[in-house]
Subunit: 133 residues, 2 copies
């Protein structure tokens, strides 16, 4: 519980939400500013800021799979995006780790212009990452 | 193993990749068309198309957390996006479930124009989703 955290307040029941799923460890509720019909968030009850602090939270998987499938089935969505942002530079707005579950509908595609490049020096980069694991 | 699947071929070693992490159940390697330095994919060895078939794959969590943290640490990224797309309408290109792990760097933000709206009829929507869980 972090007194300044809006998600902690929702978890405690001190702020309202439209809850769709809850276990001992996590809660899922509708995003208050949805980008599509059924846009939901899956949030651990324990306050951690980013996924880098979440090594012991594999219970999140079940919540993500269940909620992704439920929003798809509830509204016959053709697709679902699962997205989790860490850090302001990555678009994180609430500093309590959360997964966006966003149903997608034909005709309502969002355009994301990724500037994809060809991989260069891949083995050198891979070695730098492997050395951190 | 799906004979037509490029990720199954990478997993089998029939196509090259820059591998960064591997367990009995999953593999992580660099994206061949990175959107940022260190852009990696975490992929289950079992061929499933979407997250909706992945109820028994909570081993993915550990891979996602480990790789997200390693790419951040390897290149001193200020943030990381974790993203998983289901269905063509959601931007899925390879029909074998995978998580994009994309480090973000200050000055290299990507602009995503989400058309956020105010939630309406939230409790009705929540009830429709709850009935699917």
């Amino acid at each position: 519980m972090n007194d300044d955290c809006v998600f902690c307040k929702i978890i405690e029941g001190d702020l309202p939400s439209h809850k769709i799923y809850e276990t001992d460890d996590l809660i899922a509720f509708l995003d208050a500013e949805p980008v599509s019909k059924g846009h939901a968030l899956v949030v651990p009850k324990k306050h951690v800021e980013t996924i880098h602090e979440a090594h012991d939270m594999d219970y999140m998987w079940n919540g993500i799979v269940k909620v992704s499938t439920a929003v798809k089935d509830a509204f016959n969505a053709e697709g679902v995006n699962v997205e989790q942002n860490n850090g302001e530079v990555a678009g994180q707005e609430v500093m309590h780790m959360h997964f966006h579950i966003t149903p997608r509908y034909t005709g309502e595609e969002i355009e994301i212009e990724y500037d994809r490049t060809e991989l260069k020096s891949g083995e050198k980069l891979a070695e730098e990452i492997r050395s951190e694991i």
